[in-house]
C-alpha cells in the first residue's frame, strides 16, 4: 500500500498510471454524483454546478488509506481537464476521514488524502498555485449512520471551487 502511495506521489509515475487508468475508468460514473440522479446537463458549462454535477467533485478512499483508487483516478482526470479549461477558480481540496479512527490520527489521515488528491491533479497539469488543502478529519461527515454504508462515503476528498466565476 505504501509503495503504491509513493508511486502516486511521483508525477512521472502518475502519468503512466493515468494512461492505464483513463482507458479503464474514464466512463465510470462517480457513485455519489448528481449525474447519477439525472440532474446532469442542466448546469451552465464552467459553473461550479457544472463541476459538481457533470464532473464529480469528490473521490472516495479505502479504510485507513490515502491511495487514489482506480475509480477515483477517472474522476480526478475529469476534474483536471475541467480545471485546466476553467482557470478562474481557486481550489481547496478537503480531506476527510470516517469515524472509525481516533480524532487526531484522522486529522492527519484527512490531510494525507487531501495531499494525495492535490498531487494527482498537479500531475494532470493543474497549477499547484491554484490548489490548497485542508483536513477536517472525521469532524464533517456527509453521511450519518453507524455502519459501513456511511463510513465509505465519509472517507473522501472533496475538490471545492472558490474565487471568481460560478
Amino acid at each position: 500500500m505504501r509503495g503504491i502511495a509513493a508511486l502516486i506521489r511521483n508525477p512521472l509515475m502518475i502519468a503512466l498510471v493515468m494512461g492505464l487508468a483513463i482507458a479503464g475508468c474514464a466512463n465510470k460514473k462517480t457513485p455519489n454524483s448528481a449525474a447519477d440522479l439525472g440532474l446532469g446537463g442542466a448546469a451552465t458549462p464552467g459553473s461550479s454546478q457544472d463541476f459538481t454535477v457533470n464532473v464529480g467533485d469528490r473521490i472516495f478512499f479505502d479504510t485507513d488509506s490515502s491511495v487514489i483508487r482506480a475509480d477515483a483516478q477517472g474522476i480526478l482526470s475529469r476534474q483536471a481537464q475541467w480545471l485546466n479549461q476553467y482557470k478562474q477558480y481557486g481550489i481547496v481540496i478537503e480531506g476527510h476521514a470516517d469515524e472509525r479512527g481516533t480524532r487526531e490520527y484522522n486529522l492527519a489521515l484527512g490531510a494525507r488524502r487531501a495531499a494525495a488528491t492535490r498531487d494527482y491533479l498537479v500531475a494532470r497539469g493543474v497549477s499547484a498555485n491554484r490548489l490548497k488543502t485542508i483536513s477536517y478529519g472525521k469532524e464533517r461527515p456527509v453521511a450519518v449512520c453507524d455502519d459501513i454504508s456511511c463510513w465509505s462515503q465519509n472517507r473522501r476528498a472533496v475538490t471545492a471551487l472558490n474565487g471568481a466565476g460560478s
Partner: protein, 438 residues
C-alpha cells in the same frame, strides 16, 4: 478534646493561598487499599454541616457525591442516623455510628465571618477506634463553596486511602451540539463532577483537543478559527488567545510539557505526512523530534519530561512508540494486535493509557511504559481519548454508543471497575483533566 486545626485560606476566585498551621500525625486505622481489584465501598456517614441556612447541607451533599462517585465509599442514608450532631466540636457517640456500620464519620459547621467570608470546619472520625482522624477549617469567598466541598472530600479521600484526591479539579472538553453533519464544537470547562460549565469559545468555528497547562491557568487546543486548522494557547481567566508558531501547514494534537515551557504537537508536511515537533514557548524555537514518511501524532510527555509517547503508522497501521524527549531511540511498544492510538502518559509515570481498535471495537486500556502488562478497561462501539485524573487512579474518556447520536464523557477506575457517566448538558468529547492545584 484537643484538636489540631489546619487552616486553609481560599482567597481569590481560582488562586488559593494555603497556610498549613499544623497537621495531624498519620495513624491509619480505618483505611482502603485502592489497589485491590474488587474493593467493597467503605460505609461512611456524612452528616449535614451545621449552618444557619441550607449551605451546610449543600456542601455535605457535594462531599457525599464525590465520595460515592469514586466507588471507594458508600455514604450511608441520613435516615439511618441515630445521633443528631448538635456540637461538631465535641466527640460524637461512636457507638451510635458503629451500630449503623459507619466506619468513618464526617461532621462539620459552616459559618459566616464578619468580613463576609465563609468559614467551613470539618472533622473526620474513626468510629471503631473512637478517634478523630482529621480536623481542618477553611475560609473562602461564598462563590467558592463548591470548591471548599471538593477540597474537604479530597482530604477525606487522602486520609482514608493514602492516595491524593482528585475532586478539586476541573475538566476542559468539547461541547457538541447540533446535527452530526453540521456539529457545533466549542471549548468548555467544568468541575470534575460536571458542575459549573463555562464556554471558552463561541462555536462559530471548530475547536478540538483542549489540554491543560500544569498551572491550570492555560489550555492549548486546535481550532479552525483562522480558516486553517492551527494550535492555539488560551488563558482561561482572561480569554486571551495566541497562535502557537507560524507554520505553513496544519498544526494539531498539542500538549504541554510537564514544566509548562513547551508545547509538543504534530506539524503537517507538504507531502501529506505529519511529524512531531516541540516548541519552546519562551524562545519560540521549534525542535523536530520525528522525521518519518508517516503519520506521527498524539505526542505526550512522561511526567519527568524525559520521554515522549506518540502514535505512528510507520509500520503500516497506527501503533504506539516511545522516544527520548530529543527524538532519540524511537521504539514501538504496542504489539497486542489491532491498532493503537491516543497514548497518554500517567501522571505517576508508570502507565500509558491508549485507545485500541480491534475486532470492530474501540477499547480504552493501559500498558506499562515498555508495552507490557496491557489491560483493557472498557470496550465499545466507539470510544477514545483517555485522560488521567491527577492522582493516576481514574481515567476519563468519551464514548458514542451505536445509534446514540453523539458522544458522552465517562470515567473509570484504573482497576476497570466503577464506570461513571459525567453529566453534561450536550454531547461532549475530548476531555482533559486538570492537574491538582498545589
Amino acid at each position: 478534646m484537643k484538636i489540631l486545626l489546619r487552616t486553609i485560606l481560599l482567597a481569590g476566585a481560582i488562586a488559593a493561598g494555603m497556610n498549613a498551621v499544623a497537621t495531624l500525625p498519620a495513624r491509619a486505622l480505618v483505611e482502603i487499599d485502592v489497589n485491590k481489584g474488587n474493593v467493597e465501598p467503605l460505609p461512611v456517614a456524612v452528616t449535614d454541616f451545621l449552618s444557619s441556612d441550607g449551605l451546610g447541607a449543600e456542601i455535605t451533599g457535594i462531599i457525599s457525591a464525590d465520595l460515592k462517585r469514586s466507588g471507594l465509599f458508600a455514604p450511608i442514608d441520613k435516615g439511618a442516623f441515630i445521633e443528631k450532631i448538635s456540637n461538631p466540636d465535641a466527640a460524637p457517640r461512636f457507638e451510635d455510628w458503629r451500630v449503623i456500620n459507619a466506619q468513618a464519620l464526617v461532621t462539620g459547621r459552616v459559618t459566616q465571618e464578619a468580613d463576609g467570608r465563609l468559614r467551613a470546619e470539618f472533622r473526620l472520625w474513626d468510629t471503631f477506634a473512637g478517634e478523630q482522624l482529621v480536623g481542618e477549617q477553611f475560609f473562602a469567598n461564598k462563590a467558592n463553596s463548591r470548591r471548599v466541598a471538593h477540597i474537604i472530600a479530597d482530604s477525606i479521600y487522602e486520609r482514608l486511602t493514602g492516595e491524593k484526591g482528585y475532586f478539586d479539579t476541573r475538566v476542559v472538553f468539547i461541547d457538541e451540539s447540533g446535527p452530526k453533519n453540521q456539529r457545533k464544537k466549542r471549548l468548555a470547562i467544568m468541575d470534575q463532577d460536571g458542575a459549573g460549565v463555562r464556554y471558552l469559545s463561541d462555536g462559530s468555528s471548530l475547536a478540538l483537543t483542549p489540554r491543560f497547562s500544569p498551572s491550570r491557568q492555560e489550555i492549548t487546543y486546535m481550532s479552525y478559527e483562522s480558516g486553517q486548522p492551527r494550535v492555539y494557547l488560551l488563558q482561561i481567566e482572561t480569554g486571551q488567545r495566541e497562535l502557537v508558531g507560524n507554520f505553513p501547514g496544519m498544526t494539531f494534537a498539542p500538549r504541554f510539557s510537564p514544566d509548562g515551557q513547551k508545547v509538543i504537537m504534530s506539524l503537517l508536511r507538504d507531502d501529506g505526512n505529519s511529524n512531531v515537533f516541540a516548541m519552546d514557548l519562551r524562545s519560540r524555537t521549534t525542535t523536530r523530534l520525528t522525521n518519518s514518511n508517516s503519520i506521527d501524532t498524539s505526542p505526550s510527555y512522561s511526567p519527568d519530561g524525559g520521554q515522549v509517547v506518540f502514535t505512528s503508522d510507520r509500520g503500516g497501521q497506527p501503533q504506539i512508540y516511545v522516544m527520548g524527549a530529543d527524538g532519540s531511540n524511537q521504539t514501538r511498544i504496542s504489539f497486542g494486535g489491532g491498532s493503537y492510538s491516543t497514548p497518554v502518559w500517567s501522571p505517576r509515570g508508570d502507565l500509558i493509557a491508549f485507545t485500541k481498535q480491534t475486532g470492530g471495537e474501540f477499547q480504552i486500556g493501559v500498558m506499562k511504559t515498555d508495552g507490557s502488562g496491557e489491560r483493557i478497561l472498557s470496550s465499545g462501539f466507539q470510544q477514545e481519548g483517555p485522560t488521567w485524573a491527577p492522582n493516576g487512579r481514574v481515567i476519563m474518556f468519551f464514548r458514542e454508543a451505536a445509534g446514540s447520536g453523539g458522544p458522552r464523557l465517562y470515567s473509570i477506575d484504573l482497576t476497570g471497575r466503577n464506570e461513571q457517566a459525567i453529566p453534561t448538558a450536550n454531547f461532549a468529547s475530548d476531555p482533559a483533566w486538570s492537574p491538582l492545584l498545589e
